[in-house]
């Protein structure tokens, strides 16, 4: 919240759209503004009343460069919009940079999402440093209801909950990479980077950068489901395959390959298999290992067929994976391969399996991968 927590005293807040962007049809701007305000009225007692003339609490306008408030915009990209905390005069007013391209889809920049963020300010919200919250200062595209737990907690501290609406399911909280109990959903290489998936997010690890970058999956790939089960890179084909449930997608770089999703059974898996827990491509052999429950399969990328003699038992072929209480591990959450070692992730641990010595050589915390 802003210092001194400014807020509207009246739960009916007026707004007026004083001009329009030529990037969108008027009705699309009206709809984006309406839905952006509704985002906040759904979780508070606030109601918004539209004025067509005179002075409203929230005056909405599109302008470029110096646009009358001595707080100039900066041309395309960079600064997209700003809004003022609740108060008299300019308080609550919301300005959009006309030098941006305003859209109603995932192309830059989605007016609904930016407006919902700015109206957060116009109602008294400051910036959040939770990358999954709407009030995070950096723009990212995401589908679905945009408020996170953090956003809802903030706005309800000012205005209380919406007496008429059941509790809204907010977006998941961003995972904490150094939580010692952190387990991961999937991990893959991608052209030299490492992508680590967890809930609706992924960390992007770049060899030159020390800090993993956390991003919402939907802000990069709106078409992918929220929960990723497994992923692997086939360097020869320059493809990353992403698995969720019985479907799989292909990425070429950061671009989704047309013709996907496909069913995992097209790889030759029986219909009884409903999800792949982990996947890893072993470059030295050209085989891709697919882990499902207590077993794993070997897929020959060259011939695009399943190898004979599978599935095999994980416990039998990868001895030495043990829980802290001594139980043998027989399932895998994620897997990667590097320099002759297979890294198998289970809950908050990772097991380094040596192909040469045919045994587990090290056990580490899963988030050691995230420099924790």
């Amino acid at each position: 919240l802003f210092p001194q927590k400014p807020k509207w005293k009246n739960t009916v807040v007026t707004f007026r759209i004083t001009n329009y962007t030529p990037d969108l049809k008027k009705e699309d701007v009206d709809k984006a503004i309406h839905n952006a305000l509704r985002t906040w009225s759904l979780v508070t007692p606030l109601r918004f009343k539209r004025l067509r003339e005179g002075n409203a609490d929230i005056m909405i306008s599109f302008g470029r460069g110096e646009h009358g408030d001595h707080n100039p915009f900066d041309g395309p990209d960079g600064l997209l919009a700003h809004a003022y905390p609740p108060g008299l005069g300019i308080g609550g007013d919301t300005h959009f940079d006309e030098d941006e391209t305003w859209t109603k889809d995932s192309h830059a920049y989605n007016l609904f999402l930016v407006a919902a963020h700015e109206f957060g300010h116009a109602l008294g919200m400051a910036h959040s440093n939770d990358p999954g919250s709407l009030m995070f200062p950096v723009y990212s595209y995401a589908k679905g209801f945009p408020l996170s737990e953090d956003d809802i907690k903030g706005i309800q501290e000012l205005y209380g909950p919406n007496p008429d609406h059941e509790k809204f399911k907010p977006k998941p909280e961003a995972p904490n990479k150094c939580d010692p109990e952190l387990s991961i959903d999937a991990v893959t290489e991608l052209r030299g980077e490492t992508l680590i998936f967890k809930d609706g997010y992924f960390w992007r690890l770049h060899p030159q950068f020390t800090e993993p970058e956390l991003t919402l999956i939907h802000s990069i790939w709106p078409q992918l489901p929220k929960k990723i089960n497994a992923a692997y890179e086939n360097l020869e084909k320059d493809l990353v395959i992403i698995f969720s449930g019985i479907r799989m997608w292909a990425l070429n770089g950061y671009t989704l390959v047309a013709g996907y999703p496909k069913y995992i059974h097209t790889l030759g898996l029986p219909k009884s298999i409903r999800k792949i827990d982990a996947a890893v491509h072993i470059r030295d052999t050209g085989k891709t290992l697919l882990f499902t429950d207590e077993e794993y399969w070997s897929y020959n990328e060259q011939s695009a067929t399943m190898d004979q003699g599978y599935p095999r038992s994980i416990k039998d072929d990868f001895p030495g994976m043990q829980e802290r209480d001594g139980d043998e591990v027989d399932e895998v959450d994620a897997a990667t391969y590097k320099n002759g070692y297979l890294y198998l992730y289970h809950e908050n641990l990772q097991y380094e399996y040596s192909y040469n010595r045919r045994k587990v050589t090290r056990i580490m915390r899963a988030n050691e991968l995230l420099h924790c």
Partner: protein
């Protein structure tokens, strides 16, 4: 939604200076060579802390990459007049 990072040292510095003035309330105007770099390093640390980056006080690529992203024009921390 990120513009390409400037390679020229001076451009990088100017990008950072503009960013820190706008979003972290860094005072404009000359503070003398040594003073201005201390003030700048301090504001960089505040920004790195906000974005949960490694707190170095230096203009590393991670930090500049975040400064270069499309964003909202409201300050992240500091007084709101």
């Amino acid at each position: 939604f990120t513009k390409p990072l400037p390679t020229d040292e001076r451009e990088r510095w100017l990008l950072a200076e503009r960013y820190l003035r706008r979003y972290y309330g860094m005072q404009p105007g000359l503070l003398g060579k040594s003073k201005s770099s201390d003030v700048m390093a301090e504001k960089i640390r505040v920004m790195q802390s906000f974005f949960k980056l490694e707190i170095t006080g230096k203009l590393d690529d991670d930090t500049l990459e975040v400064m270069n992203k499309a964003r909202c024009g409201v300050l992240d921390v500091g007084e709101y007049n």
